[in-house]
Symmetry: C2
Subunit: 284 residues, 2 copies
């Protein structure tokens, strides 16, 4: 039993870091197994979610820490097929795939995670004409961070139930029209979407490798140069991953350069600041 | 066994939502038990973390989803007692408690979670003089979100090992000097800190209640008014919680008004945008 567990642990770490960067001394238990096993799911069975799934993953999300207990996020669960298609089209996710978006349309539920200062803004206007703290970048960031932290607890809960998820940051591509479509109040915006459903076992996929711990983990101060050598090692694991799941040969640094240098990567997200300001966030 | 489990589940949900708002149909397993059990720990034993703890929780963090696989975060683990004190002082957390900060100084490890576009900026400058995508608010937000999502996986891993944590958003109070103290490169900033350690069993604490699911969970569109009634119900659970752990009587809406209307709540975070811009993030 112990040996079988060790084999599984080694296999998970091997896939996550590549053969040359497996971290030592990793402690292992059932919860950690679940976390290390994560992969994004992009092909779903049409099965409905079991009763209580949404309530359960939202309870998990609400159990996460949040800044000053301000309860500054909301979720919209989209189950209506027409609305799902409309959302895929509005966020320009549809166009990428021709008709519709397979993640959103196949998955029985699409969750929209909303940084939501609208409740607290209304509560605060009883005393003032403007809730001045909410005008600052930090307040916006705080609500966005709290939403992200909560959402990851929902992911862990969903995966513990045998479900798969994929985050969709593209929900910010057209933040303006998405907000109108969903009837969002001022001082709120969709941070990201998340498809939730039963993974289709025919999907060709596996755990995606990350940079080595040497590149991202520092002790007692930031070491500015150590990551440089790690990137070369990472490229090997990255290429093996792409080959294995049938993607065309491309280096990680090429994907980084595209995402940093080419505005087409943003697909409209360059307008996010303007839209947020129209929606109440002053971002001072 | 089943009955014992049900009792525990009901107790966790009762504490999380208060007697009047316990959600129905919650599915339960060991992972979900761990998530529902979360509480922030603010009193630690001085015990060192077991060997491999940091590597394990970072492996969990790296296993979380991240935007376009860009690997845009780093962690600095602070174990040096003098540096911990320096950080508490610089972030103006010390002053609040007289000498030093008990969470940071008691806990054997203090993790600083860093949104880090510095690596990808350097990789991208090979092709261009400016990585234009990184100048936008969305790129900054993406790195911050990815950091938050990753950190929550670290929390789940740490708690599965019997450890406790508390997030410290106050690391942004004095973002400018904290960056200098830690030798952070441009295009990076500390999103938040996190104390990690063995909970001191003498701490008077419990699970903190949240707004009901009715207030935060919507279906197929946002319902703008439904939360209003829920706040009244929430105040009851909130007051009971404060009484139980010995805090003075104060309503949730009072805490919300203070945090939204009173700039003293920000403790310097009103300068975050200026500091971020000085550190490379243009926030267009």
């Amino acid at each position: 039993m112990k040996k079988k567990q060790n084999n599984r642990k080694e296999q998970l770490l091997f896939q996550r870091y590549g053969a040359d960067s497996v971290p030592k001394n990793i402690i292992y238990n059932e919860q950690i197994d679940l976390l290390l096993s994560h992969r994004s799911v992009r092909k779903y069975l049409p099965d409905a979610l079991p009763d209580g799934t949404i309530e359960t993953i939202i309870a998990a999300a609400q159990s996460a820490s949040n800044s000053s207990n301000l309860n500054q996020w909301s979720v919209i669960a989209i189950t209506d097929p027409e609305l799902k298609s409309e959302i895929a089209k509005t966020s320009r996710l549809g166009s990428k795939f021709g008709m519709g978006n397979p993640y959103i349309e196949q998955a029985p539920v699409f969750l929209l995670w909303i940084a939501d200062m609208s409740r607290n803004n209304k509560i605060s206007l009883v005393e003032n004409e403007t809730a001045q703290v909410l005008q600052y970048t930090d307040a916006f960031l705080m609500a966005s961070i709290d939403t992200a932290i909560a959402s990851q607890n929902a992911v862990v809960a969903a995966e513990s139930l045998g479900l798969g998820i994929v985050y969709i940051g593209a929900m910010r591509n057209n933040a303006k029209e998405i907000s109108v479509l969903l009837n969002l109040p001022d001082y709120s915006y969709v941070v990201f979407g998340m498809a939730v459903g039963k993974p289709d076992p025919t999907e060709v996929s596996r755990i995606r490798p990350r940079l080595s711990q040497n590149a991202v983990l520092h002790y007692n101060g930031y070491n500015k140069d150590r990551w440089l050598d790690e990137v070369t090692v990472y490229e090997k694991a990255f290429l093996e991953f792409r080959e294995e799941i049938g993607l065309k040969n491309k280096s990680w640094q090429e994907t980084v350069r595209f995402s940093s240098n080419d505005l087409t990567y943003m697909e409209g997200r360059e307008n996010l600041r303007t839209t947020l300001q129209e929606r109440g966030f002053k971002l001072l």
